[in-house]
């Protein structure tokens, strides 16, 4: 063999390739710098409404920051079980969006010994606090309303924007303010007595705490005064996905035993602690396996395909035309002519011979009456599909008789 070996040409080094494309390198470097800067500077965006970390119009970061500037520490919990409260007497529990919580969870929240503020009108809360006569209306056309009560916070605020309200039965413990059509935007409910006394406040028009509306009317005054009663605020935003219970549920209820374990664990707590890391490593292994299988051992080889023309296309097309036009006469004529040609060929009658010659020959070969043969071969053409079927059947049987010696 004189043929020389074929070898793969050596590739350029990575450095040489990079030097050939300085613009691409510069672009990549700039892009990476931008990404890096963005990654460092930008916080993960919190889009949850009423969240103290959400800077958007429906968030409550403004209120939380003002509270922080005034010396109130605001802690934000993601789950009910994650609420860490050391001193219930000096901590306000803020439950935003209570409508996302289950009845049991609200009941457990209400077991909190200190002050509670609900941001939002929720039937569960209203029901548990005010009894069956209390109601909540989640939507009221936005309008300003004056405080019409004796609550000092409400009086300080003067006027606030009302967008939702609750209605409690009259009782000495309940102060209902900013009432529009019987629904109050703000309710302060005293409970307990003596050292265990605490207040549950419902800011039914939760919109007045949001960044967008905090500055209008007396919203800020009401929100900040209500939230700032104590030096600590534990802020929790209700979520459908949170099934946990607050930590004090496992304790005696009113003595503030916050260290007890949650009674209902979250889903991930049900699994052994090693499960998630192992699952994670196996998931990454799947990615590695995808790389292993996904790397082709050479490219796919294309096949130049030949033209495929199915047979008898013209015949099939003509058959469809016959059928669509119901051309039974035409089709019958074709079938009869073909049968005549075949019979003639078998009996040695030339194609050019007159029809009578063929009829005579057929009559002799089959012994059928002459009129019968003549009707079949030269008679009237079929008038319907059924006629055509009969004709073809009879032609076939005539032809098969000619077959016989």
């Amino acid at each position: 063999m004189t043929a020389t070996y074929v070898q793969a040409s050596p590739t350029q080094g990575a450095g040489a390739t990079l030097r050939q494309h300085p613009l691409v390198v510069a672009a990549v470097v700039v892009l990476m710098l931008i990404i890096g800067v963005l990654a460092i500077t930008s916080q993960p965006e919190d889009g949850t409404p009423l969240s103290p970390a959400n800077p958007g119009p429906d968030g409550a970061r403004a209120a939380a920051q003002i509270l922080g500037d005034q010396g109130v520490t605001v802690t934000h919990a993601d789950t009910l079980s994650g609420l860490e409260i050391d001193d219930a007497a000096h901590t306000t529990l803020v439950i935003a969006s209570p409508e996302n919580l289950s009845y049991d969870q609200i009941e457990a929240v209400l077991a909190y010994p200190g002050d509670i503020i609900f941001l939002g009108a929720d039937y569960g809360v209203v029901d548990l606090l005010g009894g069956p006569d209390a109601t909540a209306s989640s939507y009221i056309p936005s309008q300003p309303a004056a405080a019409t009560c004796d609550d000092p916070d409400a009086l300080a605020a003067g006027t606030v924007t009302v967008t939702a309200g609750v209605q409690f039965p009259e009782s000495p413990q309940t102060e209902q303010c900013f009432t529009v059509d019987g629904s109050s935007a703000y309710v302060a409910h005293e409970r307990g007595s003596g050292a265990e006394a605490s207040t549950v406040r419902i800011i039914a028009s939760a919109a007045l705490v949001t960044n967008a509306d905090l500055a209008t009317e007396g919203n800020a005054a009401l929100a900040l005064r209500a939230l700032g009663h104590h030096p600590h605020v534990a802020w929790y935003v209700g979520s459908f996905y949170d099934l946990s219970m607050p930590p004090w549920t496992g304790g005696d209820g009113d003595d503030g035993d916050e260290t007890a374990a949650p009674a209902v664990p979250t889903t991930s707590d049900l699994l052994p602690p090693w499960f998630m890391p192992v699952l994670f490593i196996l998931g990454l292994t799947v990615l590695v396996a995808a790389w292993w299988r996904g790397r082709r051992f050479g490219r796919l080889v294309p096949e130049p395909l030949p033209v495929v023309v199915p047979g008898a296309e013209a015949v099939k097309g003509r058959a469809r035309l016959y059928r669509r036009a119901n051309a039974h006469a035409h089709a019958g004529a074709s079938l009869r002519a073909q049968a005549a040609v075949r019979i003639g060929r078998r009996l040695g009658v030339p194609r050019t011979a007159p029809a009578d010659a063929l009829i005579d020959a057929t009559q002799r070969a089959t012994g059928r009456p002459r009129e019968h043969v003549a009707a079949l071969l030269t008679g009237p053409l079929p008038h319907s599909n059924a006629d055509m079927m009969t004709l073809i059947k009879e032609l076939d049987s005539l032809e098969s008789e000619v077959h016989r010696p």
């Binding site: 070898q7 890391p277 490593i281 080889v301 059947k393």
Partner: protein, 430 residues
Amino acid sequence: MYITGWTVLLSALGAVPAVWAHSRAFAWAWIIMVVVLACVDAWMAPKVTALGVRRHLPRAVRLTESTAAELEVANLGKRRMRGAIRDAWQPSAGADETRHRYTLRAGEAVRFRTALTPTRRGDRAADRVTMRSEGPMRLAGRQRSVEVPGSVRVLPEFASRRHLPSRMARLREIEGNTAVQLKGAGSEFDSLREYVEGDDVRSIDWRASARRADVLVKTYRPERDRRVITILETGRTAAIRMGDAPRLDASMEAALLLTALATRAGDRVQVSAFDRTERARAIGVTGPTVMPQLADALSTIEPSLVEPDWPAVVRLVQSRVSQRALVVVLTSVDVTAVDSGLVEAVEALSRKHLVVVGSVEDPTEVELAQGREDVSDVYSAAAAARASLERDAVIARLRQCGADVVTAHPDELAPEVADRYLALKASGRL
């Protein structure tokens, strides 16, 4: 770069320590470690450029038969190399096992055989050779593909060669018998021999007998050195499927069988594949080299979607032969032959030559013609009957022009055409 299954196994093994580690950070660390190890291994693998490959290919193979393409791989570098190599072929080459593992010390070479069973006629080309070189930890390696041109010519199947022995026997019969019993069967004077009882007295050559004491008879043999021109039409209708193969294949079988037979009968054969231009030809050779040359010429022909240029066919035949010849036109006769100029061409050729038109019958149409199940079947049968009548009319016109027409199923065309050739030869009409 590529990674092996060992890398995947290693990353999966990370699940064991993860049971105690209890942290997602550990999982990340493990996987990153595995990937870094794989990268290091690929970096440490010998360069693929150290491998040299060359092909040792068979020149040609008959369709449906198997052959083996050999690929020689040599380690031209200084390090021991280990890995795999893929000798890729296009799908219709029918390569069964294209991946081969190798371990080569420096300077060593090895040959891999890739069995090929082609499924289509023509030149079947090899694609790139992809080489992998594994790293010392067997976790990953380097991969490169390189063009190593090569192709195997796949010759027509010539399935009709099974008809050849019986036709050869018939040919010998014609050649041997004509001298003794049939005066009219060959027309060419062969030799004189002594009279034996049973010879036709009319074949006694009295003049020669007078010069010698014995009674001598003239012996004849069929004409030899006649010209047979086969025109293989490769136009639009050649692409139509007759059964599972295009019409061209049936025509090609007929051309091959006729050529094989006529060559042994001592005639000079020319084959020309034609649509608007000449696609392939086999002329000017005689003896045992005819068949290989013809098979080679026909192997790469594909039907082209154009209308055949019949006047050009006439000019081609006229330019190729001056004396009377047998012209076999392999095409498919249908009603369009009237417009396409086939009839005129056959008429023109018949003035000087003996023309045989070999036409393939469409089995689908035959099947449709027998449908009797329901109304739509009968309409199909009627359409098929109409097509058949029209074709019969065209065939009748061709016969009026003086041509002989052979129509047969795709499998039957080759023996039918061969039989017609033998009949012409026996009757001395060539």
